[in-house]
């Protein structure tokens, strides 16, 4: 593919049961494009954690995924509360999630560390009270 392909998703912040649909769709699309299963796995895990975060911490947002010859770029943008202390948020086990979220299997403070672990590049841009944009790349 010499053309760059982009997929855009709008994430509903109210519906935890539907969180992950966008990541699922991207996984299928990358499979059809013939992307390696190793890269697909990294993208799926990182995007899914990011998608869950948008639902549990930021009331939804949008995700753009673009595929080029060299990499897959995911941009997750929300208009949530922002992240006050990125270093703290990146620590394994740090979470501000409510008990209710924990009982659903998330909120163990592993999401951001997982996103970092499974991608080759990750950048967090956040403004308190305005929102957060997380850009992640997986090299092909």
């Amino acid at each position: 593919m010499s053309e760059q392909l982009t997929f855009t998703y709008s994430i509903d912040g109210d519906d935890f049961t539907r969180a992950g649909e966008a990541s699922s769709s991207v996984k299928n699309k990358l499979k059809m494009l013939g992307v390696s299963s190793e890269a697909i796995r990294k993208v799926a895990i990182a995007m899914y954690e990011g998608e869950i975060n948008m639902v549990i911490h930021a009331d939804g947002g949008t995700i753009d995924v673009s595929v080029s010859d060299d990499d897959i770029t995911m941009v997750l943008a929300d208009k949530g509360p922002g992240i006050p202390d990125i270093d703290k948020a990146m620590q394994e086990g740090y979470s501000t999630a409510r008990e209710e979220v924990r009982s659903l299997g998330f909120g163990a403070g592993m999401g951001l560390p997982n996103m970092k672990r499974f991608t080759d590049e990750m950048q967090i841009d956040t403004v308190l009270g305005e929102g957060t944009t997380i850009t992640m790349k997986v090299h092909l």
Binding site: A44, I45, L104, G105
Partner: protein
Amino acid sequence: MTIREMQQVLDARFLYGEELADLDAQFVFSADMMSDVLAYCGKCSVLITGLCNPQVVRTAEMLDIVCIIFVRGKLPDENMLALARGKSIAVLATEHYMFTACGILYENGLRGGA
């Protein structure tokens, strides 16, 4: 060990995926926190969990898991089973607690894969 053999040693029921019963698995991961599964599941293709909500199936999907085993008699609802059908993920339910279910599978030669 095939999914059929796991079903038998665990006295489990197939909630979906009898047609997948011949699939073979070697490595198993068990957890109730889905982020732990995403982080450490590695090459595991079977997930044992006591958590029961649609995100369990989503997590399994992201990791290409072929079989989810619900312990403690947890029963997924129709929405979850529909998700599993759509992704061809077999779903078993056993009355055993997590520790016992893991122990039985370990005794039968399955291992953790991370």
